[in-house]
């Protein structure tokens, strides 16, 4: 992965904040009021030869340790001093590919969030960002960021669903789905009973004569039936050796139980559980 290079790094002579090799540390605080600050560890996004990454080379800044109150918008605003920001994406884990956006529906998948990929419009943005001294302030007078009660109330208001939007989304999805299914069915119907070039005919669920479904449960059922049929024919305790063996088996069970019991007793004795009071 990106970061797994060398953990031991020299200290940057100009920068007083220690940071691992290849990374620059930018102090970040929520607002003026806070005393201590977190540190963003940033570096230019780059990958080893041969690995693919959808993030644009040179223009992408890789940011670690994004504080919990920091949103995509505020990050974008904070870094815009270094150059125009094209996009910001917050993620749970470092990831090489851009997440497939189209499948994310706000109704069906909750939003994830402490690493960020910031794509600048120009490569100069990245170098400017690496030289940032900070401390960055997430919430300022001009751009306050909601937290605490403010945030929760506005989150609650956002969570009140809009039934119309939901309906529209469901309808479009189902339309596409129905279409897909219809196409598949039409295709299957077309193939039904038609041999392929080698002469094999594909048997499907929708055929005229239904066949056993290809599921694990079904095959297990068949096996079980076979086993039962076989066991019915077997003779139990018929021969003397069988009788002897079943007796021995019983004894072995008793021995095993005895060993188990002894172990339990040993344990209880170790815990001094036999003192009645």
């Amino acid at each position: 992965m990106v970061a797994r290079r060398r953990k031991c790094a020299a200290r940057d002579p100009e920068d007083r904040i220690p940071s691992p090799l290849g990374y620059a540390a930018i102090p970040i605080k929520f607002s003026e009021k806070q005393q201590a600050s977190h540190y963003l560890y940033v570096r230019a996004h780059g990958v080893r030869q041969g690995t693919k990454s959808t993030w644009p080379q040179k223009r992408t800044l890789f940011v670690l340790n994004v504080p919990p109150y920091c949103t995509e918008e505020s990050l974008s605003r904070l870094l815009s001093t270094c150059g125009l920001v094209q996009s910001v994406e917050l993620q749970e884990k470092p990831d090489l590919a851009e997440s497939p956006k189209e499948s994310r529906s706000k109704f069906f998948h909750p939003k994830p969030v402490p690493v960020a990929y910031v794509v600048f419009q120009k490569p100069s943005g990245v170098s400017a960002a690496l030289a940032l001294k900070g401390p960055l302030l997430v919430s300022t007078e001009s751009h306050p960021v909601k937290s605490g009660i403010h945030k929760w109330i506005s989150d609650y208001a956002d969570s009140v669903p809009d039934p119309e939007a939901l309906r529209v989304e469901v309808d479009t999805f189902m339309e596409a789905y129905d279409q897909k299914i219809a196409e598949e069915e039409a295709k299957a119907k077309e193939e039904e009973g038609v041999p392929d070039e080698e002469g094999w005919v594909k048997v499907t669920r929708r055929g005229r004569r239904p066949v056993l479904p290809r599921t694990e449960a079904a095959s297990l059922r068949v096996l079980e039936r076979e086993r039962r049929k076989r066991s019915r024919k077997e003779l139990l305790n018929f021969y003397a050796w069988q009788h002897r063996e079943s007796k021995m088996e019983h004894l072995a069970q008793l021995r095993k139980k005895f060993e188990e019991d002894k172990q339990r007793i040993e344990l209880l004795r170790a815990q001094r559980k036999f003192r009645p009071y």
Partner: protein, 1094 residues
């Protein structure tokens, strides 16, 4: 089974090498020696965890030796199972005297004997005792003088560490002298000296139960009454005299019979343990070990016990005998002679309720077991012994796996065994009671011991008054006192408190009415006399006019406390015992689950109202027209719907001015400038729709179809029934009569669709996935559990109270987050389904105590907790589950709960608790239990009952204090605030056109954010019921400096340490983040320890 050894990680033992024990070599008599040798050979199983036993084939199938076969057969015949045999052997090893100690005791006895013989100027007994000494306590006074003389001389002897007096069996006329050696053996042995007259000094015919030996004239200091009324018999007094004369012969009898066989000795030892665990032998007039030994002798003489029996069989036979024979009706006798001059059993039955004659045929061994003489035909203690014996027999017959522990190792103190407890204090009030009840003959017989004299009549009175509400009444008297020979003996009034335990009958508790006879019947007068002013004439619906008593009780909790009203009323009316002397302990814990407004109810009524509303809603759902698919099932899935929500919902109606409104979505929103609105939690209801070919077979598409149904459901409910609804993709919230329900549409096949995996060959197999398990849990298992527990509540009305108290306590200890609601409900259910060795609790108080006991003693490492709902699991299945559990222990959660629906996975404990949290709970429960029991058993009143509910805060590294303004459930706090904020509700519930603010709880939102952001650095603890403080514990492991890693930089900073760059948590910044994230809610962030300065 027992507390797990503290501080050990559960999962740590998986990789340990297995200890192989040498196979089955201890056989027959070698057994003990071999096992002691083995103890040194084989170490205890790794870290206190049971391992599945693995024996090699050769060991399992080798030819058995004769000895081995013999032992196996013996085990089968003499014991239940090999486990029981081993357990009994271990217990006997613990209680049996070692040879070394026996020698020391014998040596001391010889010394005592020499000293006593050498006491100077002791006259021969013939010189002291004279004819007719049996009369008027003359014998007892001489006996006491003799003893005082002995004491005086022996006290000067340097051999004795302590010399003091006590009473023989609590009889205050018969002191005995206690001698203890000086030095390290002082705790080892106590020798009791009982002076006895020569065996044939008193003529037995003078001491028959029908004879009088304490003359009224002497006792009352009056001249003989002129009316010629006969002197009352003094059976008690006579017994005390007789006991002394036959003492020696009894001892000889016991030693000849018992020493004949080891099994008998073992049996007596086990029986004594059994009695002691049940506190039956405690205090004056207990069911002593002597009595039970004599019972063994009796059973040997009637050939019900054979000398070849094992100790376990002896125990079982005696219990069987006790459970099935009523000695109050058919007395038994050790006397074999058929001499016609001997008194008849019937004479004894007239004088004593329980009759067990000794070998002389003159003495009733059970005379002291009877609380009162010839007054009533029953004895409390005997009833209790029978009750316990029956419970024990049931337990033995049920073949429960840990029967041994429940039978012999589990203590049953009164406060934990009885639903309610009442203390009578001060005891001097009983003297007046005796006069009021006209108990002079009893006083005369008891030599003035008014406590003993009053006990029988008082308990009879209570038993009669409590009637159908009562299952069993028991009394516990303080232990027999000891006092120094230089002091005066204690008075009756100094003997502390008389404590009565009430085992209630839940069916009887629901009625507020005592129905008397019809007004014109002759019994009506008796009824009026019994109930006094409480009895009134009432006309009933069937036209009958009857005497009746009606108690005031509106709620379930008040009905549970009707016995309190009965007891105080009857004691004041008939025995002149004022209310101030009766300390009734039945409902002090109720306060913790009482609603906010009504203090008279513990919430059962509110829960019933909510469930009724849910029933209405489900009818509406069933009858809904216009749904494309029909509803196939409506099931509740919320704690309210199984009666276990700590604070049940009340119907609400919002005050609109308190909220922001979102008109277009007809919803209310919280307002910034107002305190946080009331917390309304929707009650989840699962609505299954029928299966149909119309359902898509693709997970994403099923989700969409369900969402469409949610929308449609909201529409239809609004159109057809005018209910306020709000639909989302996963649920529809419905406001009905002030309650909010959350309906989740479910499709039965959906979990299966989520499970389907297609192999490369095209084979479709089913594999559990996180999503499918969750869905299955929420839509299938949760409704099943909810309905099963709903059923349990109908059977056991106290279940709701117990489960809610238990949950309340766990949450108040800030541990609520670690335990799923359902897991605690199941633990509470286990108390009702598997109450052994108790009976199912009938009051929240006793249930809660047993919850604490279970939590603090259960060995979660080596046992699953069975909750056999509806008794669906057979014994064989349980054995199978147990062995499966042992084999898979390392993969299972720390706490495993098995129900018939969930035999392997323990779904409700999958997400917690962790081993540490569980350990913390065990520790807290072990501390809380004795504290609470002591409080409740304190006759001066329980004091502050909330003490055990307050969490210890000194263990946390950081405390985040919250502002009450934004804690919606602030009033639910353990220490309810005197004033809190208005939460935007109108007092009169009514319809609302806007949807309420649902599930908005700032502390919970804050916690979610905290855990998300700092979950890997710290643990957060909070009481959701109005807690004002969040406790934070740093995780020690994450405070170890770590090398830089891109994947774990959250909340950390790089530091240079010894030339190395390492990552450490950025604590200062995190503490400030705590405040930032909870802006408005957080008052202060207190860092209390400096532990993080690594």
């Amino acid at each position: 089974m027992g507390p797990a050894p503290a501080g050990e990680q559960l999962r740590g033992a998986t990789g340990e090498p297995e200890v192989m024990e040498p196979a089955l070599e201890g056989t027959g008599k070698e057994g003990k020696k071999a096992s002691s040798r083995k103890r040194t050979l084989a170490e205890p199983p790794a870290k206190g965890l049971l391992q599945p036993v693995k024996l090699s084939r050769a060991e399992l199938y080798k030819e058995p030796t004769n000895e081995e076969l013999n032992r196996l057969r013996e085990t089968e015949i003499l014991f239940h199972s090999s486990l029981l045999r081993l357990q009994v052997e271990e217990l006997l090893k613990e209680v049996r005297l070692s040879e070394k100690k026996k020698d020391r005791i014998d040596a001391f006895l010889r010394e005592v004997n020499q000293r006593v013989v050498r006491v100077p100027s002791v006259p021969e007994t013939e010189e002291i005792l004279q004819d007719k000494d049996g009369l008027n306590q003359r014998y007892f006074r001489k006996r006491a003088l003799y003893l005082a003389h002995l004491a005086h001389h022996l006290a000067q002897d340097p051999l004795f560490g302590s010399v003091c007096f006590s009473y023989t069996n609590g009889c205050h006329l018969k002191p005995s002298l206690l001698l203890r050696p000086r030095g390290k053996d002082e705790r080892l042995v106590t020798v009791r000296l009982h002076p006895c007259p020569p065996p044939d000094f008193f003529r037995p015919c003078r001491l028959l139960p029908t004879k009088n030996n304490v003359r009224s004239a002497w006792y009352r200091g009056q001249s003989p009454a002129g009316d010629g009324s006969p002197e009352p018999p003094t059976p008690r007094y006579n017994t005390w005299v007789l006991q002394d004369t036959v003492l020696e012969s009894h001892l000889q009898l016991l030693s000849t019979i018992l020493s004949s066989a080891q099994g008998l000795k073992d049996g007596v030892a086990l029986l004594k343990v059994w009695l002691r665990q049940r506190e039956l032998d405690k205090g004056q007039g207990g069911f002593t070990g002597f009595l039970v030994s004599m019972l063994v002798v009796f059973l040997v003489s009637t050939r019900k016990i054979h000398t070849t029996m094992s100790g376990y069989q002896v125990l079982r036979s005696v219990l069987q005998f006790l459970a099935t024979t009523d000695l109050t009706v058919n007395g038994i006798s050790l006397c074999l002679s058929s001499d016609p001059s001997l008194p008849a059993l019937a004479d004894f039955h007239q004088a004593f309720s329980v009759v067990f004659l000794d070998s002389s045929g003159h003495l009733n061994l059970c005379a002291d077991v009877t609380a009162s003489t010839y007054h009533q035909g029953w004895s409390l203690l005997w009833l209790q012994v029978q009750h316990e014996a029956r419970l024990s027999m049931m337990l033995l017959d049920s073949r429960a796996d840990d029967g041994f522990h429940l039978l012999l190792m589990t203590p049953k103190p009164m406060i934990r065994a009885f639903d309610h407890v009442l203390h009578l204090r001060p005891l001097s009030r009983l003297q007046a009671a005796c006069h009021r009840l006209k108990l002079w003959p009893e006083l005369q017989d008891n030599g003035g011991d008014y406590v003993s004299a009053a006990l029988g009549p008082l308990t009879t009175l209570l038993e009669q008054g409590l009637g159908a509400r009562l299952n069993l009444l028991a009394h516990s008297r303080p232990p027999v006192p000891e006092w120094d020979i230089s002091q005066d003996p204690p008075k009756h009034k100094d003997s502390g408190t008389l404590t009565l335990g009430l085992l209630l009958r839940p069916e009887g508790l629901t009625s507020v009415l005592e129905l008397g006879p019809e007004a014109d019947q002759p019994e009506a007068a008796k009824f009026r006399q019994f109930w006094g002013s409480r009895s009134e004439l009432r006309r009933f619906q069937d036209g009958a006019i009857r005497e009746a008593v009606v108690w005031e009780a509106a709620s379930m909790s008040q009905k549970r406390l009707i016995p309190h009203q009965v007891v105080t009323h009857l004691l004041a009316l008939h025995a002149d015992i004022p209310e101030t002397c009766v300390h009734y302990v039945g409902g002090p814990l109720d306060a913790l689950i009482q609603g906010l407004k009504e203090t008279s109810s513990t919430g059962e009524e509110a829960l019933v109202a909510a469930v009724r509303c849910y029933d209405d809603l489900s009818r509406l759902l069933w009858g809904l027209e216009g749904l494309p698919l029909t509803v196939s099932a409506v099931q509740g899935a919320h704690p309210v719907l199984r009666y276990t929500e700590v604070f049940p919902p009340t119907p609400v109606r919002p005050a609109f001015s308190f909220y922001e409104t979102l008109r277009e979505r007809s919803s209310l929103l919280p307002r910034l400038d107002k305190p946080c609105p009331a917390y309304v939690e929707p009650m989840t209801v699962v609505c299954h729709l029928e299966g149909s070919g119309q359902w898509p077979q693709d997970a994403e598409a099923v989700q969409r179809v369900r969402a469409a149904f949610q929308l449609r459901l909201a529409e239809l409910l609004t159109q057809q029934h005018g209910l306020q609804c709000r639909a989302t993709a996963t649920h529809t919230d419905v406001l009905k009569d002030g309650f909010v329900f959350r309906i989740r549409v479910a499709y039965q096949r959906e979990p299966q669709i989520l499970k389907e995996v297609q192999s490369p060959e095209g084979m479709i197999s089913l594999r559990d996935t996180a999503a499918s398990l969750r869905l299955e849990r929420d839509t299938r298992q949760l409704p099943l559990l909810t309905s099963a527990l709903h059923g349990l509540q109908q059977q056991h009305p106290a279940f709701s109270g117990v489960a809610r108290l238990a949950k309340r306590w766990v949450r108040a200890q800030l541990l609520g987050e670690g335990f799923a609601d359902e897991s605690l409900d199941l633990v509470a259910a286990a108390l009702f389904l598997h109450p052994e060795p108790f009976t199912p609790p009938s009051s929240p108080q006793v249930g809660f105590l047993r919850f604490l006991f279970l939590v603090s003693t259960f060995d979660w490492k080596n046992n699953p907790l069975f909750v056999n709902l509806n008794n669906e699991l057979t014994v064989e299945e349980q054995v199978e589950i147990r062995s499966g559990f042992l084999a898979a222990r390392a993969q299972l959660p720390v706490m495993v709960i098995v129900t018939p629906q969930d035999r392997k996975n323990s779904v409700w404990t999958q997400d917690g608790p962790s081993a540490q949290i569980l350990q913390q709970l065990v520790v807290l429960a072990a501390e809380a239990l004795p504290m609470l029991e002591k409080q409740l058993m304190d006759p001066r009143g329980p004091g502050d009952i909330r003490t055990v509910f307050r969490p210890p805060l000194d263990i946390y590294d950081v405390l985040i204090r919250l502002s009450p303004r934004h804690i919606p459930r602030h009033r639910q706090a353990v220490d309810s605030p005197a004033a809190s904020f208005c939460r935007g509700l109108l007092s009169q519930p009514g319809p609302s056109s806007l949807m309420l603010v649902l599930g908005y709880d700032p502390p919970q939102l804050y916690l979610t954010q905290l855990r998300e952001a700092f979950g890997d650095l710290a643990l957060f603890f909070y009481d959701q019921h109005g807690g004002e403080v969040i406790g934070v514990l740093w995780k020690p492991t994450s405070f170890q400096p770590q090398p830089f890693k891109a994947s774990s930089t959250k909340g950390r900073m790089v530091m240079s340490r010894g030339g190395e760059l390492v990552m450490v948590p950025n604590v200062e910044a995190i503490l400030e983040d705590f405040a930032v994230l909870g802006e408005g809610l957080v008052q202060t962030v207190e860092a209390r320890s400096e532990r993080w300065t690594v």
